[in-house]
Symmetry: C3
Subunit: 375 residues, 3 copies
């Protein structure tokens, strides 16, 4: 296995006793602006590991160790472990493997699709319809959701600082609703809080918001009426405002929005739970911007393996100086923007570090995805 275990292009390892090459199609799972890479998974099973592997000699003998790289070797069970324990472990591992092999699993529906505006007299017009839908969060789970334009998160709205924007919400839900543009410093009448800034938008009615986009950054839109339920059910989306004068640090190859949630749809990233989450894909040397947004009720400390994240913005406002971390705690309502310099090739787990949000004895699930850096 040493020749493949050290191969940074290895994505997934099989437990079978022969090499497996797993070609995966990531088509359809790529964010706007990401690049497609072939994903090749291969590694040997423990049974085929050379004896003496615990000393690392086998790895070195195979010529795969140098000062920049490293080797992992597996030694077989030298003792007679109870067959029943082995069999229980094998059964658990098979479930874990099945989940990972299924990633990225196909599901019906994709959240956060970019919404192209209709432009009239220089006004960018976005039409949103709130309605009840069935939403598939992973291959095994379909739940009732409340959604904008039939997807969770709702469609991504992406505008420029200073744009004039009109957002029309049509309410096809059985409850009244309203939209709050979380983070935008709008005139009060556009703030979307029923009985404070506007009447509720009744079932069957529509409401039109219109404003000049005042401040750039990673913002959100969501219901602000019966919101613990309505946002929990899926009435939320990203509202990205690109600055007129981007900073040098903002020039990235991949711009990725990651909406965290933990409501009625379960632990999700962009409306899906692992293995139906979407990998983030980049080439070695590229820069990825991740816009974390928490629309849930719990903190989610997101941990990236293999590379650090450089935090640049909080709630759309630049931090006084960028700072580095590998685990970033994102609280409900917060947005944090980070840059990842993709220097380290491989498939890197990327998950909430509240482990019960990411793994059970049936395998990884929920708030897990991967950053895949091609060599």
């Amino acid at each position: 296995m040493t020749d493949t275990a050290n191969d940074p292009s290895s994505l997934f390892c099989a437990t079978s006793n022969r090499r497996q090459f797993v070609q995966r199609s990531l088509a359809g799972a790529l964010a706007a602006g990401t690049v497609a890479v072939g994903v090749l998974g291969a590694c040997a099973a423990p049974e085929s590991a050379p004896k003496g592997a615990t000393t690392g000699i086998a790895a070195k003998a195979a010529g795969t160790m140098d000062s920049d790289h490293a080797g992992g070797t597996m030694a077989p069970n030298p003792s007679t472990t109870a067959a029943s324990a082995q069999s229980a472990a094998d059964a658990m591992d098979a479930m874990h493997e099945a989940g990972i092999k299924a990633f990225p699993a196909k599901t019906t529906g994709k959240g956060g699709q970019l919404l192209a505006p209709r432009v009239e007299n220089g006004v960018k017009i976005y039409e949103l319809t709130a309605s009840e839908i069935q939403w598939q969060t992973d291959p095994k789970i379909t739940v009732k959701a409340w959604a904008y334009n039939g997807m969770v998160p709702g469609p991504e709205i992406r505008v420029k600082e200073g744009d004039r924007v009109r957002v029309v919400i049509k309410n096809e839900l059985p409850e009244s609703t309203a939209i709050h543009f979380h983070g935008l410093e709008l005139p009060n009448a556009m703030d979307g809080v029923p009985f404070i800034t506007q009447p509720p938008v009744k079932p069957g009615a529509s409401f039109t918001y219109e404003f000049v986009v005042p401040n750039s950054g990673s913002h959100m839109y969501h219901s602000h009426h019966n919101a613990a339920k309505q946002v929990g059910m899926g009435l939320l989306g990203a509202f990205i405002v690109e600055p007129r004068a981007p900073r040098a640090i903002e020039k990235v190859d991949v711009d990725y929005v990651m909406v965290l949630n933990d409501g009625f749809l379960g632990y999700t990233l962009n409306g899906k739970g692992f293995p139906a989450t979407e990998p983030i894909v980049a080439k070695r040397g590229q820069k990825v911007r991740i816009r974390f947004m928490n629309e849930g009720m719990m903190i989610h400390p997101m941990h990236l393996h293999g590379m650090h994240m450089t935090v640049i913005d909080k709630d759309g406002w630049p931090q006084p100086a960028p700072w580095k971390c590998d685990t970033l705690n994102i609280a409900p309502g917060e947005r944090w923007d980070v840059i990842v310099n993709c220097t380290n090739p491989g498939t890197w787990a990327f998950h909430c570090h509240i482990l019960p949000h990411a793994e059970s004895d049936h395998g990884m699930y929920g708030m897990v995805t991967a950053l895949i850096v091609s060599a």
Copy 2:
């Protein structure tokens, strides 16, 4: 409705089919240093919205749109929505509206009232009595609480760096107690931890703390004996230490303490749940300092609508550089000081963004208040 929906002085909108002007008295709900403003709420009901409103034309026709402002328009239900759904939505909305109309609701008791010291030989003497009381957290809920001087939070102690202070605690509770001055770097004997720095203060007994105030900032005092219960029941208060040499950024018009809690008294801001919470009131152009203090057991990411917050201090210590956000995560025991430049007139929702701490299907409750910026 367009002429009122765009009026930044609109506070609350009614759903009735005629204009309603709601004059509210904020007397008694104003923090020290705040200014009183007339609060005028008016907006049209959906039924009176012009046809064609979804295009925003009506709004513009009314002359309320310009490059700096924005307009919202409501379109009626063009279809025949089931009457029962409408009626259920109306019933829910009525509950939501009633809560907001009641804000700021009168309750018995006001927490955190400034305590004037008795001065003897240059020593500022504060007398606190811990006792069991009945405390009204909102118009419908009165609970048993343990309180300093009959209020939750206990009275605000506000001193200057370098002051000599004496705090006398008289224990009228059925349990022993003690006071810890959370954040003050006191001599060990004044730290208030029974069996480590002092004996417990038995029921009926008193204890005197005396010290020179060593460090400025937003601090707290609370029980440190059986504290999960005693602090949860209400034995807590703000201990503000003004610096000898204030920084320029500290020169504000309104200095507001906001104590967050989630113990036996429910989700509260300064001991009250919405609609009995107190609005923060300022004039356009003024600066408001908010001193967040979490005395609870959960995080509370506080979200301000309409304007950002500039974070200046953590636990009474200046941050290396101020930074901006609209949602600030405040963990138990933490204090965060922020400045809001009140540039945006209107009534702005201000709430914990863990939505179940702020809203149910019966309407907003708990950790919700408003920042009201008069034009």
Copy 3:
């Protein structure tokens, strides 16, 4: 009592009606690099407090008050409080006192012991065996745990940036496992995620990781297979990487690792709950570095009494500028490094400020320890 209550060397106060001097041995409870101090606890009971103490006169009369110090005085109960209430309070206080007097309580097993590597051809070799053990978290509680080398946390691995390291994991558990080096920017094959970067390490099998340590800082190693269970059961440890060129601020007298946890072993600091936690001990004027690591599922805002903490690193990366606090919120997967300048002598409570993690009506327990600064 005034002469002892103001004595910063006082550690614990007894409630008995005569002075008690309690000599405690901290041997065995000292971290590597800490210094031993004699701990002397003495204070008078309320019954012996002078009359009139509420005015602080007694304290001053005893000559213990000056501009830098402070005094605390206890006044007896002047009224006839119900004997039953007194007796209930006394009973509760006795439980609280017993817990504190027991601190630091002896238990079997010590977690996080420094693991000396075997060195072969310049490679530092660490051998870890994962197995099921019985682990005593406090004198009254022994639980089943999964541990590396029979301790929770697993042994501390401490290396230098650029070292070549080999870690051999032998799996004696009934489940497969794997080790993730959380925070290290390793080649993908060494990342320890079964089916993504390697096969699972089956019961009875071994696996060898080998790499050049790429980045300095406070990192962790833990299971990344069925991790919600395996990490929760104890498969975790500190992986400290000393930099080749330490910063001036890193030159400290005491370097202390504090692993926070809340899994199947309960609320623990370094695998123990109060009173079996370990005090941190330093001399006045010394600097202590604390490396917080959260291996649990909940946030833990750690509050230090008496002195502030200066935050220098997040996840092993320097913050752009150090900043001060007294309560630091540490989320799962995060590491935060702080410096404490031990300017304030005494025994200082140091605990999670989610109070139910630290105290019940039976007294302090769980995530509580003390920083002891000798005069």
